[in-house]
């Protein structure tokens, strides 16, 4: 009873304190007219003119001053938005946020004090950038990366044991984390042909290849992923690939000349009859009576059969389909259930592939995939939720410079994490 009362009181007090302290972040001068000693750059009260933001500050690590409302390459479009302008430079808050995300803990007192005691914003920026480097080299960053990929892949087994017979649901996230931590090209996550089922324990990766018999292509053939996304005709596996690596839901392709069809528009660039359909087909993907199935399925059906050979436990059975076509009763799928004779596999219309490894290469070469990787890091850094499920889309302008750096810098995601966490946007609240 006493605890309950204490809790209630604490919650009530906390609510007040949240309003007073938490939300004001750097501009906590509302409480006492702070004058920048804590890294708020002498910011004025909430809603006041953004003191300290009128003058461009030196960028992190002693880099030249960046634009006020955006990083070097991504201004806010010059719209002079009052909200962006009102943000206050706060390296103390940025350090805390970055530390929670990059190492899963609060910063040390020494780090906090170094920021707080730095004489100038430039000195704070330097100390902060050094802290970010330290975090990226910290073994706990690996753990955080594994968790990042678990949540991105929506699969993992950190808290519960895996059921007998099931594959590990952690190897995909562990491999993706290993690629990032080891500074390998991001596309290895999609295309690596060996060592894609590592484990991580006691701060160390142990490299291992998957043993599910698949023609290996990064996490695309990971047994845990294949098991997690097992479904009729392998469509769920396609959705995983599209949403995880392209950051958009199906339909994935659009024609420049959509045609009226049925109750709606046919928007795909594929020939309408490039997928199975008609009155004799088990599934009529050409149906137009309500929605236009082909808008999505022209893309889906040209890939999905490749993933139909993985069973419910992610094991690859060459030459023998493991998924079913949902007629009643369900039957083992045949290639003709997806595609009519003469149709081949493809990533997109005009990008044919022959097997999973070549599909992986095509995906890796898609510029949308690089953009997606960067945008996901942006959303993670800024606590914006999932780019697809939470509609946390990122305008091109915001991350364009990072995407350029990513693609010209060898697709090293860790470098982009550093850039974003030290960007002008990240250190403003």
């Amino acid at each position: 009873m006493r605890r309950t009362g204490l809790t209630m009181l604490a919650v009530a007090l906390a609510s007040s304190a949240v309003a007073v302290i938490g939300c004001s972040s750097g501009s906590s001068s509302t409480l006492g007219g702070g004058t920048g000693q804590n890294g708020d750059n002498g910011g004025g009260g909430s809603g006041a003119s953004p003191a300290g933001t009128a003058t461009p500050q030196p960028g992190p690590g002693g880099t030249p001053p960046a634009s006020e409302s955006g990083d070097g390459g991504g201004a806010d479009g010059g719209n002079g938005n009052a909200i962006l302008d009102a943000r206050v430079l706060d390296y103390g808050e940025a350090l805390r946020t970055a530390s929670l995300k990059l190492v899963g803990d609060l910063p040390t007192l020494a780090q906090i004090q170094a920021i707080a005691s730095a004489a100038t914003p430039a000195a704070q920026a330097t100390a902060y950038a050094a802290d970010i480097d330290q975090m990226l080299a910290d073994p706990r960053f690996t753990t955080q990366m594994i968790q990042y990929w678990r949540d991105t892949f929506k699969t993992g087994s950190p808290y519960s044991p895996v059921a007998k017979g099931s594959p590990s649901y952690d190897t995909a996230a562990t491999f993706a984390a290993m690629v990032v931590v080891d500074d390998r090209p991001y596309t290895d996550i999609l295309t690596a042909s060996t060592g894609t089922c590592p484990t991580f324990a006691n701060g160390t990766f142990t490299t291992a290849s998957c043993t599910n018999g698949a023609p290996t292509a990064g996490v695309l053939t990971d047994p845990g992923i294949m098991s997690q996304y097992f479904e009729h005709m392998a469509f769920r596996r396609m959705r995983f690939i599209q949403e995880t690596f392209v950051c958009s839901p199906f339909p994935a392709e659009y024609s420049a000349t959509p045609e009226p069809m049925g109750q709606s528009l046919y928007t795909s660039p594929w020939d309408f009859d490039s997928i199975a359909g008609g009155p004799t087909a088990p599934i009529n993907f050409q149906d137009t009576s309500a929605v236009i199935c082909a808008n999505c399925h022209t893309t889906l059906n040209h890939m999905a059969p490749l993933f139909g050979y993985f069973d419910a436990n992610g094991k690859y059975v060459a030459g023998q389909m493991q998924v079913q076509t949902p007629v009643t009763p369900a039957v083992t799928s045949q290639l003709s259930d997806w595609l009519p004779a003469g149709q081949g596999f493809a990533w997109r219309n005009g990008t044919p592939v022959t097997d999973i490894p070549s599909l992986a290469q095509a995906i890796a070469a898609d510029p949308d995939v690089a953009t997606c990787a960067v945008n996901r890091i942006w959303d993670w850094a800024f606590s914006r939720g999932d780019i697809v499920n939470d509609l946390a889309t990122v305008p091109t302008d915001v991350t364009a410079s990072y995407v350029t750096d990513f693609t010209t810098g060898g697709l090293k995601l860790k470098a982009i994490i550093r850039e974003i966490y030290t960007s002008d946007d990240f250190v403003r609240f």
Partner: protein, 230 residues
């Protein structure tokens, strides 16, 4: 009620005529009513598309509402450049409290460790078997549970007085006079303490019925205020 019924019927009809094959394959009378495969979205049904993210995985209920909410803030560019409010991740919460001297393995009823271990659901832990990642929004349940944990942890944190903290070696949260220290609060909240933090904390102590209660309230309040979001 009528609207709900019509909506349900509409959804069913859309499912029925959507990607037409033998349109009646899974809703025919020979099947058990309410069996998994009899449902339009059942696993055995053609229209068993993976659950659409109408609700989002983090508690956002309506995509249209998301757009409207964003528009109220500014352009998409502006919205994208602002920090969101993310709840502390479950493992992070545990790591922070453990470093502050809280026994996170405790099974004593209502201890911080116990509340933490049994509060995975409210605290938004991932349910990967359902393809649900760890929740990031600070939901009401997550915050309420978090505050419970903080309130329970306060006693242990004060008892340890940061003596075992690896983040803040040699620091005391409360000095020999019973007053909070600036460094101690910085350690607690993870960023530079402001004079107001110190004032508020010590004010809570002075206004409480007794020092111990006041200190507990202050610690719980500071933790809750600071760690409502990342």
């Amino acid at each position: 009620m009528k609207r709900i019924l019509l909506t349900s019927l509409g959804a069913t009809l859309v499912a029925l005529v959507g990607c037409q094959q033998d349109a009646s394959d899974s809703l025919t009378s020979h099947q058990e009513p309410w069996s998994q495969s009899s449902l339009a979205a059942g696993a055995g049904n053609t229209w068993n598309h993976q659950a659409q993210s109408v609700g989002g995985q983090n508690g956002i209920t309506d995509p249209t509402q998301v757009v409207l909410d964003d528009q109220a803030i500014g352009t998409p560019d502006v919205v994208a450049r602002l920090h969101g409010a993310q709840k502390l991740q479950y493992a992070t919460l545990g790591a922070i409290l453990a470093d502050l001297g809280v026994d996170m393995t405790s099974t004593t009823p209502d201890s911080a460790g116990d509340l933490y271990a049994t509060g995975q659901g409210p605290l938004g832990v991932a349910v990967y078997s359902s393809r649900v990642p760890e929740m990031i929004i600070p939901s009401t349940s997550a915050l309420a549970k978090e505050y419970d944990v903080f309130a329970a942890a306060a006693t242990e944190i004060l008892k340890s007085n940061l003596a075992t903290s690896t983040r803040c070696p040699g620091t005391q949260l409360v000095d020999s006079t019973g007053a909070f220290t600036s460094d101690g609060i910085s350690c607690l909240i993870g960023k530079p303490a402001k004079p107001d933090h110190l004032t508020l904390a010590n004010q809570l102590v002075s206004q409480a019925p007794d020092t111990a209660t006041g200190q507990q309230l202050a610690v719980a309040t500071l933790l809750a205020a600071a760690h409502t979001s990342e």
